[in-house]
Assembly symmetry: C2
Homo-oligomer: 82 residues x 2
């Protein structure tokens, strides 16, 4: 078994209302020192084996089902256990 992580984030030029809401709430809660927040999604996919074919399939999954390529970027990586 292996775990593959897909991170999906709004593209830099796209407005991110969720991140803006978190950022706006921080000073009201007494937190300073954070200059920007962006919020995205993280997927953990369990696979039998993280070979080339599986990673190519996960790349297609990430680009179609997990993200909207018009407004989001994604990265795929195999999680290495510490």
């Amino acid at each position: 078994m292996a775990r593959v992580i897909v991170d999906v984030m709004p593209k830099p030029e796209i407005l991110d209302p969720q991140g803006k809401a978190v950022h706006g709430a921080l000073p009201r809660l007494g937190f300073t020192g954070v200059t920007d927040v962006r919020q995205g999604k993280r997927f953990e996919l369990e696979v039998e084996q993280a070979d080339e074919a599986t990673l190519a399939e996960i790349d297609r999954i990430a680009g179609t089902l997990l993200s909207n390529p018009v407004i989001e970027d994604y990265t795929v990586r195999v999680e290495v256990d510490a």
Copy 2:
């Protein structure tokens, strides 16, 4: 400037309906080989300096504003540029 990543995932014992929905959709779209999917959130926080005080503050932010500690686990890490 430094970037701190906060990953928020549902606890292992908590049902994850979003992940289940993604997992259920995969075979219908012709994707096989993924045995489980869990969905969480990823936050990117920009800070002036990722020193100890800032990371302690971000840890408090992650445990209060960004996650629900009853049902979610979070990790905080400083992003290292490749």
